[in-house]
Assembly symmetry: C2
Homo-oligomer: 700 residues x 2
């Protein structure tokens, strides 16, 4: 088990690719038809499974498949599974191509067949068969055509090369160190990068940005003299169809190149980026592109030269275009030195105000990367109005898989339901497209980007159950309309196969398996809702401790320059973002949302305090007052955590002991922290409002 991509070189948890998941394939006879490195990866996967479970695999590197499962003239058949590249394009057969990264899976006459036009499609098809498990070899199944919704399904790593004095090795990382970098250098052993690529391929991710969007001094050099470090990572990810992207410093020509400026309209600067980018592609021919955080939170950008974001993005896009690369230009731009006394400035407005006027000015290979909400990854925000505001610009939706504001991988918080809600939001109302349609559009879409939650932790994600978020991100990027509970179910089945439990012996009956599955759904399905219930209420956001963002501090950001306020006083709470009396942010939405959010009566309760400042006695749609809702939900959230804790305790013996112990400890911390949230939020609002809990519970 020491070959490249081996899932457990150093006691690392296999996540959703344990050996057992390959038993159905590994115990059968497989024919693989197709050449090239990615097909080699497919072969290696099957061969390893067969070595373990007694099956066989035969590879015909040159051949392409004719559609049946008998092995044709190859002899040695029949096979249970045929994985084959099509003849599409080769033979002028006239058939419509399956498509890049796509595959068709079917079962007929006892043979399961996966066809793809490309080896990448074959690899995704293989993992589809893994997900199906024994079912893949059961009843006949008609041909199903699988294609990824979005072409770009990317994870951004906020990993620093050099340990940052404040932010550490991984900014907002809660899973140990970086799998790429350690103390200023690439890791000596990049085995784990290969294992990571394998996990990503198995959930559908095809791109990784290998360094933090805040590009510090050491990281700036990755673009030039330390490019070899990036190439080494690319070499490890390439066998799994994952491309590398690089976060770059907009001022790199100044910092590295000795130009007199980083002005995007300067010829020297343009020439510098062109030359540097050419060298990047010489070293990494399948390089994906650049990620840029410019003029944001102190990062350099085009504004210093009187240029705008379009000028800046197009500069890099021009350098990348000859090679097919893209620029991910982040829309996370706002005034982080706001005067809290200035009530007219609204951070929620900032991205729209900056970027909507630039629509149509960006080159085709610029992708505007937009956080899902207008503020910053809070557990409850409306969908960003930017997504609907720039129809002539490619948009990527940015989701935060790392749990900066959602419990930092010490709390169970399965994020897929929240992401699913965002993807399913229709910016122009019921008749219009979903967000998913916009970002996944073949021409105008920029795909999905997640900020990775993975690190060098043995469980990859710190909290073992946080693996489900990484998995679900990939699956939703591939198929945004998937049901979050179904994705979770898939993850459970793969990650906790029946024989993986501590006590064993439950393969046949499935009783333990069913108990585990049921319990995990109970613990995880609505865990994001639970988190919301014990933290900041009704969409108001940002009641976290400044700096590290873990745990409550109701006034922590209230008098700061960060633009994140709740304006609670003795009479009420919330941010008036209406056009009538507030900041006018509601006007950034098209109808019907511009009207729905504007209206106190129609605004959804869960977003009430995001859009309106209301008295504590304001009555919600369920008949409760705002203040009583605050109390009730805080108490409910804590009770839910406690139930999860007890539920998990019952699972001892059904999962590996070490994993059980870690989750048990984390649930104890989650309960402590949830109680802290409950008590601080409730005490804060009781002290301010003077309204007692109608049920007389203790508020300290």
């Amino acid at each position: 088990m020491t070959s490249p991509g081996s899932p457990d070189p150093h006691g690392v948890h296999p996540a959703w690719l344990p050996d057992e998941a390959f038993r159905p394939i590994g115990s059968r006879r497989t024919l693989l038809r197709g050449g090239g490195p990615l097909a080699g990866t497919v072969h290696e996967e099957v061969a390893r499974a067969c070595a373990r479970y007694g099956g066989s695999v035969r590879r015909q590197a040159g051949g392409r498949h004719d559609g049946d499962g008998d092995g044709g003239a190859d002899g040695g058949g029949p096979y249970d599974l045929v994985l084959a590249l099509t003849a599409a394009g080769d033979e002028g057969s006239g058939e419509v191509g399956i498509g890049e990264e796509c595959y068709v899976v079917s079962r007929r006459d006892g043979v399961t067949v996966v066809l793809a036009d490309s080896a990448a499609g074959l690899l995704y098809g293989l993992f589809h068969v893994v997900r199906l498990g024994e079912e893949a070899f059961g009843a006949e199944r008609p041909a199903e055509h699988h294609r990824p919704a979005a072409r770009l399904r990317m994870l951004d790593h906020w990993d620093n090369v050099a340990v940052h004095p404040v932010m550490g090795q991984v900014e907002r990382g809660y899973a140990g160190g970086s799998i790429f970098w350690c103390d200023g250098a690439p890791r000596d052993d990049l085995t784990r990068v290969g294992a990571y690529g394998r996990l990503l391929a198995a959930c559908g991710v095809n791109a990784v940005a290998v360094n933090n969007v805040n590009v510090h001094a050491a990281e700036t050099h990755l673009l030039t003299d330390r490019l070899g470090d990036v190439a080494a990572i690319a070499d490890r990810l390439r066998p799994y169809g994952v491309r590398v992207h690089l976060s770059v410093n907009f001022a790199a020509p100044l910092a590295l190149g000795g130009t007199a400026t980083a002005d995007p309209l300067d010829e020297d600067v343009r020439a510098w980026w062109a030359a540097v980018t050419t060298r990047v592609y010489e070293a990494i021919p399948d390089f994906g592109g650049y990620v840029v955080k410019a003029d944001s939170e102190g990062q350099p950008g085009p504004h210093a030269y009187g240029r705008d974001h379009a000028d800046g993005a197009n500069l890099l896009a021009g350098a990348l275009a000859p090679f097919g690369g893209v620029v991910h230009w982040r829309a996370f731009v706002y005034d982080h030195r706001q005067d809290w006394r200035d009530r007219s400035t609204d951070r929620a407005r900032a991205a729209y105000d900056h970027f909507a006027p630039l629509d149509g000015r960006f080159r085709d290979n610029v992708i505007l990367q937009v956080k899902h909400g207008p503020i910053d990854f809070q557990v409850r925000e409306p969908v960003s109005p930017v997504i609907a505001a720039i129809p002539r610009t490619r948009v990527a939706l940015e989701l935060q898989v790392t749990q900066e504001y959602t419990g930092q991988q010490r709390h169970v918080c399965y994020l897929a339901p929240m992401w699913s809600e965002v993807l399913g939001f229709r910016p122009w109302g019921p008749a219009g497209p979903w967000v998913a349609d916009i970002v996944a559009d073949d021409v105008g879409g920029g795909g999905l980007v997640g900020v990775s939650n993975a690190g060098d932790d043995p469980y990859w994600t710190g909290h073992p159950l946080a693996q489900a978020n990484l998995y679900a991100f990939g699956r939703l990027a591939w198929a945004p309309s998937s049901d979050p509970a179904a994705i979770l179910d898939e993850w459970i089945g793969l990650t906790f196969p029946p024989s993986a439990g501590g006590s064993g012996g439950n393969d046949a009956a499935g009783g333990d398996d069913g108990r585990l599955r049921e319990a995990l759904h109970e613990i995880m399905d609505d865990s994001c809702g639970t988190y919301e219930r014990y933290t900041a209420p009704l969409g108001v956001g940002f009641m976290v401790r400044p700096g590290h963002h873990y745990g409550p501090d109701v006034d922590g950001y209230e008098y700061t320059p960060w633009g994140t306020y709740h304006f609670a006083d003795r009479d009420g709470v919330g941010v008036d973002r209406t056009r009538a009396t507030g900041t006018g942010f509601t006007g950034q939405y098209p109808p019907p949302w511009s009207e729905v959010y504007e209206s106190l009566a129609r605004c959804p309760d869960e977003l009430l305090l995001f859009f309106h400042h209301v008295p504590y006695g304001h009555v919600l749609h369920d008949g409760s007052t705002v203040i009583q809702h605050i109390y009730d939900t805080r108490f409910a959230g804590v009770e839910e955590v406690d139930r999860a804790r007890l539920r998990w305790a019952e699972l001892a013996g059904l999962v590996p002991a070490a994993l059980h112990a870690r989750v048990r400890e984390l649930l104890a911390e989650q309960l402590r922290c949830a109680e802290e949230w409950r008590d601080q939020v409730n005490a804060y609002f009781l002290r301010k409002s003077g309204v007692p809990d109608s049920r007389g519970r203790r508020i300290p």
Copy 2:
């Protein structure tokens, strides 16, 4: 100007010892009678002044003085100044000794005479003549006997040897790096340590603890294998009569010695400390002793072994006693992991509760080092009740010269008036002794300890005007009943001698000198009051930003484990520490204070919220309500800062330009920060109370 102790080896500001201060001595004829190293320092000081200003000095190393100024049989007279060791003790003359460190100064028949029993006294006498300036050589003056009130006048440096990842090189240091340590090692060039010793001698300080009371890994080794580093510092300070003390790790025997325990009653541990301390005195014969922070904020201590603070302190005292050393054992012990929901625990009570029961159990060479207030160096606290609670224990008063909670040397805050108030407090009422009497008592007193505000900043203290705090600490330690304004006047005269101004030419008239003096008094005399007016009101304390403690955050510590709360709600604010209805802290004081503080009517306004929780409408002794007082004083404080800023602007040309510019920039920052304090505190209380400002000023 490169001899040891030179005040400006690298462009360092001379503070209160500019060359000009030595002009009156340096332009005259001096006779020095006395031998030994400290007398050598006196000689060097006078000789350097004479080299600059044309006077002369003659030294008679062996002789002792007979009391007149004609030089006796020495020839070469007459002299303007005679500095002489007495014959006391030598010749059985029957006269009463002047006393250790003491001196007598007089002027008769045109000769100014300083007599002392010891060379240390002679050195202090020399600096007395420097302070007098030309006046020392004017009219006749009868003999004045000067003796330090406290024998121990110590500065604690919270300097780390290795840079601490959170706290840096100097914990709570606002004046650059450490003058002793740099990046894990002693400074290559310790010249500045000598210059520091000279400044300390000139204001009366005679002891320095060279490392932080939080003793981390590297610093633990100073006691043993890195003792040479401490000895090198001692060598630089010895010529100025300043002894070194060392902060030690109570668990040092475990960490360094390989003992199985650090139990203070264990024989191996006792033997370890005895042996180690013997080696310390072999290296540093005049070593002062140990400083210990034990069982406090995570530092190890005797509690781990079921022993108490007396057991712990006596262990070290036993090791030091044979050599005349002392233990400074800090009384700053409290639960820093308090549950904020627990209203019964009161951090203010902690030191008394820990130490009062131990009174009488400490060895004679143990000094309990007590912070001046019961909490932690807030700008307004009552005097700690511990000082009166342990009559059979030696007590040192700990003051914070470094401005952790008083503007961090970015704000002008002359602390001497606050210290003077503490020293003048009479714990048993008008008929009883002062705090100064208790801590400076020859037998039972432990002296004064200040946490130093000096670093490697060119001005020593970051803010040039913060030098006055260092100077005033020394002067108050020597003479606690001194008037703070007189000390400031002294400091102004020394630091800004007439010829030191930028424009010069004002020596004769003194007009510019008078303007500068008047302005500095206006800016500084009540600057601590100003600071109090724009920060936390009425003694409530701790409204600073958590962690770094700079700038406001009204609720910053409200829901934390640190025990520092104000309990503001929509109805009122303050901490009920009465016996009747609160934590009972008032009962830790003897009468009359136990009654005064208990009584809402008699409690001084400035401490009201320290002792009582009152409604916002509570009427103060001046007729204002609490809420209106909060508004009024916040506005007043800011206006005072603005006046100081404008006043300083007028002084351009009267002080060196660089110094003027630095103070001007700092005053701009102080004004910004004061406005931030005003607006946050006012907005917070307006939002909570709903009571508008009666004068209708803008509260954001």
